[in-house]
């Protein structure tokens, strides 16, 4: 049984990161779609359905966001603050990815409402292992706020419950 597909939106200005993440995401077998925006400003355009993102069917609100901290135009912390200050977007889980291992960055991210902070992978192999684990936990096991599909995880538990 497969959970209905949801959109995961990743904001990162590095095309190599995006490509490696996409490859690793697809290889992980996740039923969920990953999409990309290039910086914090484009992320907000997507969420607000501004400009080229105006079609709400083509650009559905994401079930979760992967956010790079160091981006041009609007950085990760600025984008995160805007998302958490917004009535509609504030409940979307945001997983922050950064090359920084600066403890202040991590603490600030959590204080601004990051759901979790991950260190960005540094090699192709690391991309595969971390993105694979990420896609299996979020959105594989965590309940996401958007969409009302029956997750396979819960179905399996209900099946177990019925046998008790």
């Amino acid at each position: 049984m497969m959970r209905h597909s949801k959109t995961v939106l990743m904001a990162d200005d590095d095309p190599d990161n995006c490509l490696l993440t996409q490859d690793a995401w697809e290889e992980s077998g996740s039923p969920h779609t990953i999409r990309f925006v290039r910086d914090g400003a484009e992320l907000l355009d997507y969420l607000y359905h501004r400009g080229k993102f105006s079609d709400t069917d083509d650009y559905p609100l994401p079930g979760m966001i992967l956010l790079d901290l160091n981006m041009p135009r609007k950085n990760g912390h600025q984008a995160l603050k805007e998302i958490r200050d917004h009535d509609v977007f504030r409940h979307i889980p945001v997983v922050v990815r950064t090359t920084s291992i600066d403890e202040d960055d991590t603490r600030r991210s959590y204080a601004l409402g990051a759901s979790a902070c991950l260190t960005k992978p540094r090699s192709a192999q690391e991309f595969h292992s971390t993105v694979g684990a990420l896609s299996q936990y979020w959105p594989g096991m965590v309940e996401l706020p958007l969409g009302n599909e029956n997750p396979a995880w819960d179905v399996s538990f209900n099946e177990v419950r019925e046998t008790l």
Binding site: S28, R90, H91, I92, P93, I101, E103, T106, R107, Y110, A111, G113, S115, A116, C117, L118, T119, Q125, E126, H128, S129, T130, G132, A133, L134, Q136, Y137, W138, M141, V142, E143, L144, P145, N148, P151, W153, D154, F157, V160, R161, L164
Partner: protein, 185 residues
């Protein structure tokens, strides 16, 4: 069977010498090298707030089974978890209430429910950075959205069997304790 009152301090003692780089969860073994890449954080206290003694017993046994090397402590209602993290009542010392690095929070609890607890913790500058995983039987979309709006870091459905707890805790251990950068104490 444990009683609610006597079970308050049933901290799970994990073997400190347990090698931390073995035992990757079978469900996530596409990533066998992961624990070698990321340093496995040590000496972490996870605090679970749940009023159901059966669930606490299952959780305690499942936590022992996965041998994470970390400590799972329990509190049993919304007031008790606030006493614990705010160091009040029975929990005034570091020893009785080591700061949790992660909280597993049931929503339906007596005295104060999980939503009220989220409201207090996520507006407290000292405590708001502690990741809170809502861990509850409901998966109604309104509850999920409300919990995220109140600042929950993740929302997981609470299992009802030992195997369910074991698999869930393996995933929590793998993601939150090996992969994630937790905020400092």
């Amino acid at each position: 069977m444990i009683s609610t009152k006597t079970a308050i301090h049933h901290t799970v003692e994990c073997t400190p010498t347990q090698p931390s780089l073995v035992g990757s969860p079978p469900d996530l073994t596409k990533t066998p090298q992961l624990s070698l890449i990321r340093g496995h954080q040590t000496g972490i206290t996870i605090l679970m707030a749940d009023d159901d003694p059966d669930d606490c017993l299952l959780a305690r046994e499942a936590w022992e089974e996965i041998k994470s090397g970390h400590e799972l402590r329990f509190v049993h209602d919304g007031q008790e978890i606030l006493d614990y993290v705010l160091r009040r009542g029975l929990y005034t010392t570091q020893q009785s209430a080591p700061r949790p690095r992660i909280i597993l929070l049931d929503l339906n609890m007596p005295k104060k429910n999980g939503h009220e607890v989220l409201g207090v913790l996520k507006t407290n500058p000292e405590l708001q950075t502690i990741p809170i995983i809502v861990f509850t039987t409901t998966r109604h979309i309104d509850e999920i959205i409300r919990a995220y709006q109140e600042g929950a870091n993740a929302f997981m459905t609470k299992p009802s069997t030992f195997e369910g707890y074991r698999d869930t805790f393996r995933a929590v251990d793998h993601f939150w304790l090996r992969l994630v950068q937790l905020p400092n104490q």
